[in-house]
Symmetry: C2
Subunit: 206 residues, 2 copies
């Protein structure tokens, strides 16, 4: 069984739990005391020298980095072959959003960390960066239901958590109607699991 | 033919040119005036709303983000199927280094930009982050010839440029003997193309 080194409130860990639940793959969750900085402990650095969660183990395979774990899980367990399909252009297009989820959107993750766990980052700088990334995402979603290919992929999963939970970082999603509709669509995927801070379905109409 | 929106000195553009040359795929290079901020122009933002180079076009496919372009090119043009192979665990392992190349190692890219193009970033902060990423990379390479799978992959290509050109960002690679040996190995791949700032073969022995 997959072992996931996990912290309940982490959006990056949630990406992995969300895809696993949608694909009906069970996992053993090994809690990491993120608040107590267990992810920087000598023991944990042997699992991931970057000192970050999540880490996944599946038999002999051990992987760090949420986006890398999504790639592995989709290729190993997605029998529909739709979450990270074979075609070179599909992979390239989805990869753009794995990068966006692991880079640009981590500003929103940082803003949330400051607000919910009192992290010592520069809140206005991170909020401004997050807002710029939301503007790009909202524009992209103006004529699309999902980020690429017209259906959900691991690109959506990689971007969803820190966008959907942006309110916890003090960022109002109301200006981004296309993003709010996309959040609604993702909430309706069979196997979706909620997290605190994600807007309720229909928030766009409110 | 592939069209690459390109800037000669960009390490991110070089990643793409390097893989194309190794795979013997020709491309049309469209120069972008990076110094003149053409990548932030209205015209360019229509190609890539993130305002970054490289951008690649291949027929109907347009992609931003060096790592995404590497994924596409490997899947579309690598007849050996070794640069980004099918197996789920291979993809997951390589993806870790696509993320590392697009995240952690961009500190080294930033340090280089400050030094060669006088960018207004915080040099000591970026150098310290780069050094931490080099420490992790050097340790990883202590018992490996390439980053994963025992042979070169797009993971190596994604990480190579900003490590190899770190000297231009004022970072000395001498303490990282495993990295210097890895640079030597990559330089010896048929189709390798040099860039200014990359140490000569044998620098490890110097």
């Amino acid at each position: 069984m997959i072992r996931l080194y996990d912290f309940e409130l982490s959006g990056s860990c949630y990406k992995v739990r969300l895809l696993l639940n949608i694909l009906k793959v069970s996992c053993e969750r090994i809690p990491v005391d993120f608040v107590g900085k267990e992810h920087k402990s000598e023991r944990f650095l042997k699992l991931n020298p970057l000192g970050e969660i999540p880490v996944m183990e599946d038999g002999e395979v051990r992987l760090r980095d949420a986006q890398s774990i999504l790639v592995y899980i989709a290729r190993q367990y997605d029998r529909s072959s739709t979450w990270f399909p074979d075609a070179p252009d599909s992979m390239g297009r989805i990869m753009q959003w794995l990068s966006f989820g692991g880079n640009e959107l981590m500003a929103a993750a940082g803003a949330r960390l400051i607000r919910i766990l009192d992290y010592p980052h520069d809140l206005p700088v991170l909020q401004a960066r997050a807002i710029e990334s939301f503007r790009i995402l909202d524009e992209h979603l103006s004529d699309r239901e999902f980020l690429e290919l017209g259906h959900p992929t691991i690109g959506d999963i990689a971007c969803f958590p820190y966008v959907a939970m942006a309110g916890e970082g003090g960022i109002d999603l109301k200006p981004y109607a296309n993003i709010l509709r996309w959040i609604d669509r993702i909430r309706q995927i069979p196997g979706f699991i909620p997290m605190p801070g994600i807007p309720a379905i229909g928030a766009v109409a409110a």
